[in-house]
Symmetry: none
Subunit: 197 residues, 4 copies
Amino acid sequence: MNVQSDTRRNMDKRQQILEATADLIAEQGLHSCPMAMVAKHACCGAGTIYRYFETKEELVQQLFLHLTEVMASHCMNGYDESAGVKLRFYSFWGNFYRYMLEKPRDRALMEQLSASPAISELQREEALKPMNKALTMLLTDGKQQQLIKNLPDAVLTTMTFGSLTMMAKKLQLSPQMFPQAVQPDDLLNLCWDAIKA
Amino acid sequence: MNVQSDTRRNMDKRQQILEATADLIAEQGLHSCPMAMVAKHACCGAGTIYRYFETKEELVQQLFLHLTEVMASHCMNGYDESAGVKLRFYSFWGNFYRYMLEKPRDRALMEQLSASPAISELQREEALKPMNKALTMLLTDGKQQQLIKNLPDAVLTTMTFGSLTMMAKKLQLSPQMFPQAVQPDDLLNLCWDAIKA
Amino acid sequence: MNVQSDTRRNMDKRQQILEATADLIAEQGLHSCPMAMVAKHACCGAGTIYRYFETKEELVQQLFLHLTEVMASHCMNGYDESAGVKLRFYSFWGNFYRYMLEKPRDRALMEQLSASPAISELQREEALKPMNKALTMLLTDGKQQQLIKNLPDAVLTTMTFGSLTMMAKKLQLSPQMFPQAVQPDDLLNLCWDAIKA
Amino acid sequence: MNVQSDTRRNMDKRQQILEATADLIAEQGLHSCPMAMVAKHACCGAGTIYRYFETKEELVQQLFLHLTEVMASHCMNGYDESAGVKLRFYSFWGNFYRYMLEKPRDRALMEQLSASPAISELQREEALKPMNKALTMLLTDGKQQQLIKNLPDAVLTTMTFGSLTMMAKKLQLSPQMFPQAVQPDDLLNLCWDAIKA
DNA sequence: AATGAATGAGTCTTCATTCAT
DNA sequence: AATGAATGAAGACTCATTCAT
């Protein structure tokens, strides 16, 4: 077996553990996720987890990093940096919202990990930096063209992020509160109206 | 000692326990909050807690209920049901946002409990019903007067709630992201622009 | 129940735990002494141990302190500070040797703990200070009267301690090596001849 | 590759493992010496150790045997069986004491292993038999010539061994207890005075 | 023969809950 | 009614040993 496939196998095992952890945290919460159960779901012994992650805390942190990477890549899917401000806004946040809707597990995971003391606020900021790069350019352009309110990027981003995140959560956890279908475009319009100049 | 003072004393003790629990959860997270420490902070024995709350889970649920009641009463502070739609909107959500800002402990608590598996989604809905009553009237009026987008109340409420909540969180946990002061009115304008027709 | 008896009860429990630990370490070695087994032998739950000792390490250290106190008090039993140098020497080390012989458990315990990394060399020195006080006076007197070799106290003490300790060990663990009875006085004579001027 | 070199390589590997184990036990104690760490220090895989030693227990026993062989050979270095009793005594125990002083690792190792339940008292006796052969002759001669006290060999040997061993330990672990240099000859004189008739 | 990833039994420690006082 | 000592089940983590490559 060559190095390539060795790496592959290890990556697979590591990935299996991350997936198992993700499933369990999303379903039961960060508590109710003993290492023994992670091991069972990852089809490995408990000790094996510790070959890939030093402690449970590190496992959770690595999971968070992995999650934000996946999320960022979804947001940037088909993103055209040369498109107009409004189009870019709808593309980015549309991708984000659809991802949250389509992957309830990842949405729940993000919620759990965002409130977890296992992850520091600094780590959270670092993890989200890649995502923020595209947004900063978008908002700078928008403000220059006077299409977007002249407020700090962090405000515009935080409020859009907060509203879409909360919507996705409510739709998943309390669907009966929304008897009629909610169109994603309605929400994006709402977010755009919020920040537009 | 008469019944009155007994009840009083009990209420005090119960309240002390709730306060101690609130402090500990907000500071350390739901997990680093053993009953023995709650007892210590509430200046009572561990067994005493169980005279007021059957289990730790119930304690947390009661705390959540208490928290939402306080929050609702803050939101309704000086609220004039006969005022105009926009004024009512600014009054309600201004109260909400200022409460979140001024009581970081309660904001952190709300975040912890909102993500806790100790509280079911149903309980969360029930707890927020009182708050939603005023909002439903406000939004109904707004839609009738064509001041507000014709979207389900739950959508309009969720997104406003989500954006203001996330803003308060970020301001408290990552203040360095906001070098210039953020005016509450700017945020309320942003929320109003989002939902206005 | 008054404070006196409360203290008593706690002391009893603490003592029980120390005794159980002593028995197990002496019999099986410092390893093979899991907290669960200590608890079983002390007739208490595993958690109870942690009300009296913060960690297993501290339990072992406290046990060592206790052991040296008992040993010191045995050595000083009937010790007459105003007696002659040789008499005092025979009294002190005779007491010591008889204690080691009569309490094989404590002898084994001392051996285990003396080699344990759970106890630092500094702690060992501190624990033995009380014993050394009497010896220092004895040796100073002896040297002044030119009854004892003019070597550092630490040398005279260490070698006497070492030889008697090793003898007690061998007698207990390899009795077949000593087909004829070994008289304690022979050993004390041997030690006295070693250090006498 | 022929049998000779195979054997040679194996011996080397076996030796490496023993050395690695010796270093780790002496430095950290018998307990902080996991097989994986032994393997790392011996520059081999963990599984390889099991080609040379059936279990960890056997590894430790073999290490003890090896250690006593080395110790015995040091003691017999330049030993002249035809020399006088006193000279032989000083030669043997001088060698022993210098070895203990010059190889603190081996001294620490001997202490750890002497207290370890991994090695039975029978094994300890067996391992020390070679050393005792020379001593028996020496003591027999000494007693015949009435130079040495008429006590069992085991007593005379045990007490000399115990005092020199303890001295070497104290000098290495608590050097500050001996502000002035301690001359080995002073200690040998002391031991000789102890046993001489 | 050598490797080191995988295993899971065993260890220390925490903490919700009970109950004797 | 109030207390807090006692409990033991549950959880994170370690490590001797095995075995597929």
